[in-house]
């Protein structure tokens, strides 16, 4: 039985999410502007683990008091299938996007029993001129670069208890109003720690189903939710008043963080959605057999 909250229908269904490996990295710079630039570039093209290798995003901004070097910073999160799969992602993204960014430095952004290389590979850019400084349990590499030194911690924590693919599908009869509502939901989710929404602006317009008629395609368009196909496909999920559907995908370092993020997102949608033409919220799942984590929408409102 679906439920209606503030004029928005909430389906009695659940988001099905998967166990993933996640890590956190702190990027600092001389100003928040440049920390953000480095973080944005490093997390770019980090939407879906299938096509992009890792799902990445900015978790939050850090004040100078919260960073190891007392400069403004940004914490990014990266999610992949396994710690081994994250290694080349960290190496390439940090090496190409953070090492190169003016004034940047890079530190562990997750404390966990298991660790993964952060500066282990980028330090070799120093060509033998790099030096290390070990303080407590952390080793910091100092790589001489043209604007001074790139400081990067040798390792960061990694967790295999992370969750990828928490989601909600927002349906509406006004495309502009739907996008505004989804943006509000992404903003609300951004306030929750330890989660990211890896897609552009946190919003996906091309929800997918597993498989395709073409061989070699792992995923293809979710035709049941395509409004232009309503009536022409065998089983459309959309009612006659639905004009568009947007999805928000959430990855988190813990299952609780993902649940909190979904709760925050749902609240934003139900608080302001109805007047913007939002009619219904549902969630993507595969019948519950593939993913280890189920988030029932009715438990989160």
């Amino acid at each position: 039985m679906s439920k209606t909250v503030n004029g928005v229908e909430i389906d009695d269904t659940f988001a099905e999410a998967f166990g993933m490996t996640g890590t956190g990295i702190i990027i600092t710079a001389d100003s928040l502007k440049w920390a953000r630039i480095a973080a944005t570039v490093a997390t770019g093209f980090g939407t879906s683990v299938i096509g992009a290798g890792a799902e990445c995003g900015i978790d939050r901004e850090l004040s100078p008091d919260d960073t190891p070097d007392g400069r403004p910073g940004v914490r990014i999160l990266m999610f992949g299938f396994s710690p081994d799969a994250l290694v080349p992602q960290i190496r390439n993204r940090i090496g190409q996007c953070v090492l190169t960014s003016p004034g940047s430095a890079c530190y562990a952004g997750l404390k966990a029993p298991q660790s993964i290389g952060l500066g282990k590979a980028p330090r070799y850019f120093g060509d033998g001129f790099q030096t290390a400084k070990k303080l407590g349990q952390s080793r910091y590499w100092r790589v001489p670069v043209m604007d001074g030194e790139f400081v990067i911690e040798e390792e960061t924590g990694v967790t295999t208890d992370a969750v990828g693919g928490g989601n909600m599908l927002i349906l509406g009869n006004d495309r502009a109003g739907l996008l505004e509502t989804a943006e509000a939901a992404v903003e609300a989710i951004a306030k929750v720690d330890d989660v990211i929404t890896p897609f552009p602006g946190g919003i996906v317009r091309s929800g997918s189903k597993v498989g395709a008629k073409y061989s070699g395609m792992f995923a293809s368009t979710n035709d049941a939710f395509c409004p232009t196909l309503r009536g022409t496909v065998k089983k459309s999920e959309l009612g006659p008043d639905t004009l568009a559907v947007l999805e928000i995908v959430i990855d988190g370092l813990t299952s609780k963080a993902v649940a909190d993020a979904m709760r925050a997102g749902l609240k934003a949608v139900t608080d302001t959605g109805a007047k913007r033409g939002v009619t219904r919220v549902t969630a993507g799942n595969y019948g519950g057999k593939l993913g280890q984590h189920h988030y029932h929408l009715k438990d989160l409102i």
Partner: protein
């Protein structure tokens, strides 16, 4: 104070070797066995119970009272717990210490923290020569941990030191960081003459340096992120014992160019 207390009976006429006399080791022994421990300099030498009055019961903390400069190897091999010393100690205090805390309310002799791999040492007074240094037969000097000396240290502090930190509230003697391989010596009262002879890597910090070897070169004025990281790290772990933060800009003096020259002496930039 809880824990076992050893009080030196009388100014001893011979040297006393407290190597391996740690809270964990004493906790595993009976009172009788503790009293029988050999703390002399040769086999069948002085027994602990003959040199010290023993009181209290063994715990995480061991207190040594009435200590004097004839007590060598205090905290040698310390792996856990705390040793508090009231009075001066002799040479090799904290030798090969791995973890735990050694607090000396007095002066320390030569070779403080030599070969230490971890833990925290605080000497309220001065320390002798070769603090954090190596002794013949060792490959390296200090390998980890933090030693804070409230006063001055003698010559060649951190000789062949590889990791770890020595913080000196006063000055270092001649040749600090000689043959240093890594690690940090932060001398708040200034760096003594001719530091870093044949140093490969590592960092010496201070407000001034008395004189430089000709193989050290001025690399200019820089704002180094690592100095901020170090200042914040020491502030968060050492509290009041942390050295005052360096100014934003430091002058880097690189050397020793008689070897690979990756070491540095960091001074406030004028």
């Amino acid at each position: 104070m809880s824990g076992l207390t050893l009080r030196l009976k009388a100014p001893a006429s011979e040297r006393i070797n407290l190597d391996g006399v740690t809270p964990a080791k004493l906790a595993a022994l009976s009172g009788h066995e503790i009293a029988k421990l050999n703390v002399g300099i040769d086999k069948g030498g002085l027994a602990l119970g003959d040199a010290f009055d023993i009181s209290g019961s063994a715990s995480e903390t061991l207190t040594i009272e009435g200590a004097g400069p004839n007590l060598d190897f205090v905290g040698g091999g310390l792996d856990s717990g705390t040793i508090r010393v009231v009075g001066d100690v002799g040479s090799y205090a904290g030798r090969k210490m791995a973890r735990g805390k050694l607090e000396i309310r007095g002066n320390a002799g030569h070779y403080l923290a030599s070969g230490a791999t971890g833990g925290f040492i605080h000497v309220s007074g001065n320390a002798g020569d070769n603090a954090g240094g190596f002794i013949p037969g060792d490959r390296f000097g200090m390998l980890g941990g933090v030693a804070v000396v409230g006063g001055n240290v003698g010559a060649r502090a951190g000789e062949k030191m590889r990791r770890g930190t020595i913080i000196v509230k006063g000055k270092t003697g001649e040749g600090a960081g000689t043959r240093m391989i890594g690690g940090t010596i932060w001398a708040e009262g200034g760096i003594g003459p001719l530091p870093g002879f044949m140093m490969r890597r590592g960092t010496l910090l201070g407000p001034s340096v008395e004189s430089l070897l000709p193989t050290f070169i001025d690399c200019g004025k820089h704002d180094l992120v690592i100095v901020r990281v170090m200042s914040r790290y020491f502030k968060s772990t050492l509290g009041d014992l942390a050295p005052a933060a360096m100014p934003l800009f430091v002058r880097k003096i690189g050397g020793d160019l008689a070897t690979i020259g990756r070491g540095e002496i960091l001074l406030p930039a004028a």
